[in-house]
Subunit: 423 residues, 4 copies
């Protein structure tokens, strides 16, 4: 076994005001398959998350901050709210700052002043999508931000965001430690794509699948009603096709599901276009779901571009596919009525569904428990349904992907009836 | 007064199997304002729709057909279903053909064979968007179609579609009369834009406004959460801004509503861009709703193009606006995060909401009543909430528009706070 | 003709800050059918509502109040919000009091202090059901309330409630006039039952029908899935079956719709129970919708009871029907699985749907226009889709009912297939 | 370790037509906490579910049957559909019988004939709540049913139902074995209460929580809007409060959550009524959620009654609570406006939400894989998110309950602010 301990600011020696605790030395393994009846060998073990009996921070003398970064994702307000309520009602921390507009809000020269977050301020926010704190892309300037955090006396910082955000958070904690300012940085992973290692399910994902399913319904209705209708739905998924795959299974109306994990060819007898032609001949309509990161190799390489967060800018596979289909239908004389659906922002801005509401609450409260115990440089993860502490150092840019031999992809192949490969 | 009588195939002399009737000589005026307490002078009077005591067609010897044409609109299946149920359960007409894929289905050389429509076939279809008959754009070849209708022995034809469809229907009836084949053609006006003269409200419109409001909610959440967010939502409305206006009032979150009825300027102190700049300075976010037919004069005239139905192809004001905003924000150094929403097909493919479910039922049943009484060359209209018979000859290509001095536009100006003009 | 003028506090001589007006002497008739091509004789004429060119009240010196009374109804917050926005943004009235908990809030000895209503306070409230002002049943103590209104300097009072509320409002205005305090009382009719004379459609009604349709869907699913399933759904409708009827038409899944307007018998060959038995034999399931005011004569007369608002307390026809069915199924050996649905409070507490959002906005703004012009003792009505001023004196306790020879009931009979009478 | 093997009909020696498999000797442990870094000792190990490389049944000579028993639960149609599609498309089994009306359908003397289930029949059924097969309560007559299954040549039987149903299924398999008829019985656990041992989450549960949250929203709106509003919401949960607890966390608007796992007192200083009184004094409204199995000890013991499935009939704690509150409010002069919500059938009849759609698909397909491999006398379970085979013999009537020291209940206490006990 290999225990993945997280950083600690020091000994946790204060009594917690809470009543029920998770023992410090409780772990959850990263693999649980007993093959041939034998226990997995040397699994990675993560600390189980939850309230600790001993705190590092004295609630009465602790000031917390929270910041939301990157693109919108359903549940941001739920996370903010539950962090505030757990800090306030659970531990008695009264001073909580909401930094505005992502990491921009940690820079007093560029950003707006933070908001004081109280139970009253966050009372109703979980009903709404978006984030009351605002968000933005872009990195954090470490020295400036730490100056500001020290000046503001912030001891706990909750960073809600993707990989880049969390690595920034780690750097903030390292710099604060250098300056001997006790700062616990605890990350709550945020990616609508659901592709974070050691996190079974990120918040916002099921809401996104819900919303995607509704759009697929529309796409199916259109394809079914117009003459030889072909509907193309582009969904989120830069490196991983979880949303596309899950929505295809949930909907059961998708005929082709294209994801980054499975390269595909357009041309050739076993290529995608011939498969579509056969489908149209047989059924007179087709619904195609494509994840935004799929088929990037099919498009002429543009100049390598990056967005403000440093993510590589993808080319638009949805529009590309529509153009290819448009000219192919003329060349091949395959009459079709093409419809394109690109619902990205309608999905990201949704309020969390029931499932995500509960998930956000749990991520947030576990983040507070970790921080109050003086843990830092971690994100809250989830393995086999158990919340755990994952050291940020484990997030090395790798993302979780759909396993092609796993149950989800098997379900996609069954639901769509598509071949394993278009090659 | 000026009575707008509709064409009749002959004397209606058979007893109706129904129990309650609308008297033949009941009319509804097209204007009802009594100015200064005086009755409107010489108003246009329309026949009130409804079941007639005397029928022209003998139900046992009558065959009906129905066809849905043009783009999708919520409620098509409801209309089909209620036509079938009223014919079958109300009058005892047993043979009802559903022509497939719009007017293409009236051409035996191009189209698929019609479907036999029974109460069982249509039992559950009102729960779904789209149309079980399929639809397509494009005109009807009159001689071929009448040959086919005569051969099939069709006496009642219900045409669900826009202006072009209805004029086609009128030509079918004229040609059938020339051949002495008794054919009643009754149109049910279909336009999601709600812009048909003498029709207070077309079916599908309120469902579209519902759906548009949801998208505006998303647009507002995005604009509110990102840095200086500007969301542009393009909605349906080629000649009339009813959807854009109604959705703006319903949402109360729109800051600028641009419709075809109100030309606008981008540049200049009182132009749209300066107004947006002021809005961003004051409130840091903005939601813009633009009807697809708005601002066509702002774009370089492309070659005059038409779609398969003969409608002029509009240029894309939504994308144009985004491009203008993109470059303007750079030139003017107005930082903004721009989001574009184009939900057209997600709206058109919806199932009818409650309001439209009832409306479809009423349009459909009144169409059946008119046809059974031998009336033809008409559409079912609605004035002041009363269903009426409108001669197709009155539909001269003019469309109903938002009255700039009326209550709806007044409500838009109040809800958005925008000036009367950007000029 | 017979013009229904409303009371005025005096000459309206101040210029309005608005830009577009409805002329004072514009009227809308209460009947519009031209029988035999002849104009209706001597119709009742109502003043058309809308902004007037001349005001009675000077906005800078005017204080307004608003109160919501009786049971919840979707749209109350929308009405409050639009009254506040029109007063503030439209006219420049800055002082607006929200009286709390219905008429209880007009009594300083029993109620809480009023809330100051500003655009900020009402910003988001239209998204929520209920009323931010609270509500209660019970009459208003006229002298106490007028004392309080005078002391508070209130000149405009908007009363949102049913008949009793509006008659109370009228009494308030009469008493204020006696004391020479200029007080315009304008009512916005509120009844989820949609049964107010001279009001085509009250706000909240379509939302209620929406919600009712969803419950009927559930009832239908249950009835269809269990063995010989019989689902009974009780819906609102004390004196009028509009909700039950409209939901039956919208749903198309109801087999029996029982409303107060149509007395019915349970026993006998042509009674309800035999009809149900035939239905079960033929189709093995049935959905029954019953309005709460239906079949009151079938239950043993209890002591005549009234609620706090003075409305007669109805006996529970839904439970009664279930009990009758339960024992009848044993006596008659008609096996059935009975389910009862009583969704009243789940319907009343909904947020307004799109249609009602727009309707509320229009009712509210027209009420403000009337009050600013010095009109009083009226409610905002709607005839043939036009907003009008209806003198409260016309509301004599009579309620609007479903016309058994009209289109709605005809549609119910078609949709359910039930006989005209169970007798 | 202790391997929980399931029964097998014989050696599986035929090649599967599928492409990807789960190895036979793969297990998942029932406990995964490594305390002090040490592996759990001797955990129960379950076979991992999934497609097997070797089949016992030859698809071309196999006939399958499916039956749905007990009360409605969201997702029944999804399960039926995915069983049919996996059998047909996955394995090539063409003969699939849908037994009607629960176990009644296995008795040719009482029930209707089974339906032939094909991909066409089940095409769209997953969009609807309920079950196309119908359902009923009541036990199965083993000899009659086995006679019938043998006569019909059924080899695979999928039983969708609760504990009683599954024990019945086990008895069917034992009896068939006695008669040397190869019959694999595989259960898919169905309980909206989510209380089955070794099943992390039963299908329909999250849809129920979704629906419950909506009702709680209504209850909260009512309570908040009326005078001293108290809303009581009764939710499902005979032995376990999962729905009540999860909905309370998801909603965040519940003030008191009462579940069977936590006995409570009404009277006394630390009793429920005093806590409610304090809540009303402080906040003027309260929302109470009560699971149907809570507080049974508070009610006078009625005659021990059972329903047709043999479940003890509970007394109605929701109505009891309302009666207690009604009289207490008079005695104690605590003015309140009480509202009662009992949405059970509106919840059970829902269509599966996205999450449950996916879950149903996975339960169903894994059941088919197990049956084709000749496994029998098991249900499909789920531990730590992994699907497993659970021998029916392990289901000894015990149900899973909310752990009072676990995360869910901790979240309820945080969200409601209620004390740990009312005692």
């Amino acid at each position: 076994m290999s225990i993945q301990s997280v950083e600690k600011l020091g000994d946790a020696s204060l009594a917690s005001p809470l009543a029920r605790f998770v023992a410090e030395d409780t772990y959850v393994p990263a693999t649980i398959e007993w093959k041939g009846g034998r226990s997995p060998e040397e699994p990675r073990l993560f600390e189980m998350a939850g309230p600790r009996e001993r705190l590092f921070f004295d609630p009465r003398q602790t000031r917390a901050g929270i910041v939301t970064c990157g693109g919108l994702c359903p549940g941001l307000n739920n996370v903010i709210r539950s962090v505030v309520l757990e800090l306030n009602h659970g531990y008695g921390v009264r001073e909580i700052l909401g930094f505005q507009d992502g990491y921009r809000g940690l820079d007093p020269f560029r950003g707006q002043a933070p908001i004081a977050l109280t139970p009253e301020v966050v009372d109703d926010i979980h009903r709404d999508g978006g984030t009351i704190l605002g968000t933005s892309r872009g990195p954090v300037d470490i020295p400036t931000a730490v100056d500001y955090l020290v000046k503001r006396g912030v001891n706990l910082l909750f960073t809600v965001g993707g990989d880049g955000t969390q690595r920034g958070g780690s750097a903030l904690f390292e710099e604060a430690r250098r300056r001997q300012h006790p700062l616990a940085v605890v990350g709550i992973p945020k990616t609508i794509d659901n592709d974070v290692m050691f996190v079974d399910r990120t918040f916002g994902f099921t809401t996104a699948v819900d919303a995607a399913r509704e759009v697929i319904d529309c796409a199916h209705t259109e394809a079914h009603s117009v003459f030889n209708g072909v509907s193309v739905v582009k969904l989120m998924g830069r490196h991983a096709g979880f949303i596309a795959a899950a929505a295809s299974v949930a909907s059961q109306d998708v005929n082709f599901c294209l994801i980054p994990e499975v390269p595909f060819r357009l041309e050739g007898e076993r290529g995608f276009l011939q498969a579509l032609k056969r489908r149209l001949a047989a059924r007179k309509h087709a619904v195609i779901v494509v994840a935004e990161g799929a088929g990037q190799d099919l498009m002429a390489a543009g100049a390598a571009r990056k967005d403000a967060s440093g993510n590589a800018k993808l080319q638009d596979i949805g529009r590309h596919l529509c153009e290819v289909l448009g000219s192919w239908s003329k060349t091949e004389k395959v009459e079709m009525t093409l419809r394109y659906f690109d619902p990205s922002y309608q999905i990201r801005s949704r309020a969390a569904n029931t499932e995500d509401s509960m998930l956000c609450d749990r991520f947030a409260r576990n983040a507070v428990h970790a921080a109050m115990a003086g843990k830092t440089g971690l994100i809250i993860g989830m393995v086999f349904g158990q919340f755990v502490h994952v050291p940020i150092t484990l997030l090395n840019g790798e993302s979780r992907q759909v396993k092609l031999r796993g149950e989800l992809w098997r379900a996609v192949l069954s639901a769509t009836g598509q071949p394993e490969q278009f090659e």
